[in-house]
């Protein structure tokens, strides 16, 4: 049991607070994000702070499940605190939406609560803001999300960032994900770039012959440009090491990266086939954004076409989330705090007179202290 003094002096692992200038900057950044996404037609949503754990249990990777704070309510049901906005949002959107409502564009910005190891701040996540485009499939929808992400970061001032774009669909073409996610070990080996393990898993779970497994291990380690990927694929096709489904997914990524490049966006996009999505519910594209000076991805996203079907409506969805606290100190955008928002101290006269004077200042867009 923690003693009173220690409890007073520190917060539990996984919790965070921010005040004054830090809070002003945080809110300012959120306002900017809201301004951008609202201009793209995204509406705000608010997810509950806690919900029933059992509803989400099968959708949470076991590694993540250990970091979830759980509690028991008065009826004995196990609840979980909001550890990820996407999951909570999926349930509530799934229950609320009908086919006729689609497509729906929403954005969120909220705290998330999860345990974190004291030694591993690379996993620090206290606040998630993001968007979801529900009810749209295909190239235009995927592009919309990638472009909007670029616009948001441009507004926030995030220099030297790169988008690494991969595909869960490529992995699913090799090893079907449903129903028990047998590709979990392979997914982890790919994400950690463990070449030998990927090869072994391709043979064991994907039923590949050694030559094809070796090629796939090389493929899943690929990072580079459209042209570089083309050269690798030429070999794959020549030696008949790729299935039709795998080729289709790779061509789709190439098309997406080509269209992205034509749009003249700020962030470089690299095709990175080790980006296969971290969650069991990912389906199509998967991406992470990295920035110089930050020890972990600053934003992540992808497609999750069947997630909402767990909660009532089978609608495709694609989106991203930004880990704002992770990136906040690296953003170059100036948030006005002192001069423009510094309140004027109103003095002299009765309270009523001071109130009237203060209201005049406020009506002109200023701030006033009574």
């Amino acid at each position: 049991m923690i003693n009173r003094k220690r409890a007073l002096l520190q917060l539990p692992q996984g919790a965070e607070s921010f005040y004054l200038d830090d809070a002003v900057r945080h809110r300012g950044l959120i306002e900017r994000i809201e301004r951008v996404v609202a201009s793209w037609g995204y509406l705000p949503v608010q997810t509950p702070v806690f919900d029933f754990f059992g509803v989400y249990e099968g959708l949470i990777p076991s590694r993540d499940a250990r970091s979830i704070y759980r509690l028991i309510d008065r009826e004995g049901d196990v609840l979980m605190l909001r550890y990820d906005n996407t999951l909570f949002l999926a349930k509530h959107m799934g229950l609320m939406l009908a086919e006729a409502d689609l497509p729906v564009r929403v954005w969120y910005g909220d705290t998330i609560l999860r345990h974190q190891d004291a030694e591993d701040i690379s996993n620090d996540e206290f606040f998630q803001t993001g968007i979801e485009l529900i009810g749209r499939q295909g190239l235009d929808a995927d592009l919309e999300v990638l472009v909007l992400l670029d616009r948001v970061f441009r507004e926030l001032g995030a220099p030297q960032r790169v988008v690494h774009l991969g595909s869960r669909a490529l992995l699913t073409a090799l090893v079907p994900a449903e129903p028990a996610d047998p590709a979990r070990d392979l997914r982890r080996a790919i994400a950690l770039r463990r070449h030998d393990e990927v090869q072994e898993q391709c043979i064991r779970n994907g039923g590949c012959l050694p030559e094809r497994a070796q090629f796939l291990a090389e493929l899943f380690a690929f990072i580079g440009t459209h042209d570089e990927l083309d050269r690798l694929l030429e070999r794959g096709h020549r030696d008949q090491l790729l299935t039709t489904a795998e080729s289709r997914e790779l061509r789709y990524l190439e098309r997406l990266s080509t269209e992205y490049a034509r749009l003249g966006l700020q962030a470089e996009l690299r095709i990175d086939l080790s980006e296969v999505g971290s969650q069991p519910y990912h389906t199509g594209i998967a991406f992470n954004v990295y920035m110089d000076g930050v020890g972990a991805a600053i934003a992540s996203g992808g497609r999750y076409d069947h997630l909402l079907s767990h909660f009532g409506i089978d609608a495709p969805a694609v989106g991203f989330s930004i880990l704002l606290r992770k990136v906040q100190e690296h953003l170059t955008t100036e948030i006005p705090r002192d001069e423009e928002r510094r309140p004027t101290q109103v003095t002299g006269g009765s309270f009523r007179a001071r109130l009237e004077k203060a209201d005049r200042i406020r009506a002109e867009g200023g701030a006033a202290l009574l």
Partner: protein, 215 residues
């Protein structure tokens, strides 16, 4: 805008014997470092790689936080850390053994109901014996683990053994080799994604020397 900066890559390195081995190894492909007695950082003569000298057990923390993009350390230290890295290379040098040891006059098997083990490697010890279905009570120590059986703190220790000289000097014997410990080059995943071309170039040079040594 690309993140492939012209600044040197950063590599955390544990101070001590492993550092000497790594520096000798790096000299084979033209990376020369001058390290004064008290310096904690240094950059190679051509400004390509900056070393950050840290305590062995702190290395995963520095790499996980992205303070150093790369790190070289043993799998014993990596196992104890909760962070995940890209493991880019296994070096031929620096390997050692993780062993279970007890007093030379101790009868193994007499205390199989629950093993009491003193060790610096608590996570490894828990996982190893639990995988075998053996309950284990781990007593965490930070150094001079060999003292534990001698002074009666715990009948067993789990520790790194190179030559066995320290064990013998304390009248201890190896009961079992538990794992081979290797020295790895690891990389912070986000750092790799940002600097993969330059990291791969460095890796290519390292692998070139390793292959040459093997041949």
């Amino acid at each position: 805008m690309t993140a492939e900066a012209s600044e040197p890559l950063t590599l955390a390195l544990p101070k001590g014997r492993l550092m000497e081995q790594v520096l000798q190894f790096f000299e084979q492909f033209g990376f020369y470092f001058r390290i004064s007695r008290r310096s904690l950082t240094t950059t190679d003569s051509q400004g390509r790689l900056k070393l950050i000298l840290v305590k062995n057990t702190d290395l995963p923390v520095y790499v996980s936080h992205g303070i150093a993009g790369l790190g070289i350390c043993g799998t014993d230290v990596l196992y104890e850390s909760s962070a995940e890295f890209f493991e880019l290379h296994t070096f031929a040098f620096g390997s050692t053994r993780m062993c279970l040891a007890c007093r030379a006059d101790h009868e193994p098997g007499a205390d199989r109901r629950q093993l009491a083990v003193a060790t610096k490697f608590s996570r490894f010890t828990h996982d190893f014996f639990h995988a075998r279905g053996i309950p284990v009570q781990v007593i965490r120590l930070n150094g001079s683990v060999e003292l534990a059986p001698v002074l009666g703190l715990a009948p067993y220790i789990v520790d790194l053994v190179e030559t066995g000289t320290t064990l013998r000097a304390n009248n201890l014997k190896i009961t079992e080799d538990l794992a081979e410990i290797r020295v790895k080059l690891v990389c912070n995943p986000a750092y790799y994604k940002l600097h993969y071309r330059r990291v791969n170039e460095l890796l290519g040079a390292i692998q070139g020397v390793s292959n040459h040594e093997r041949a």
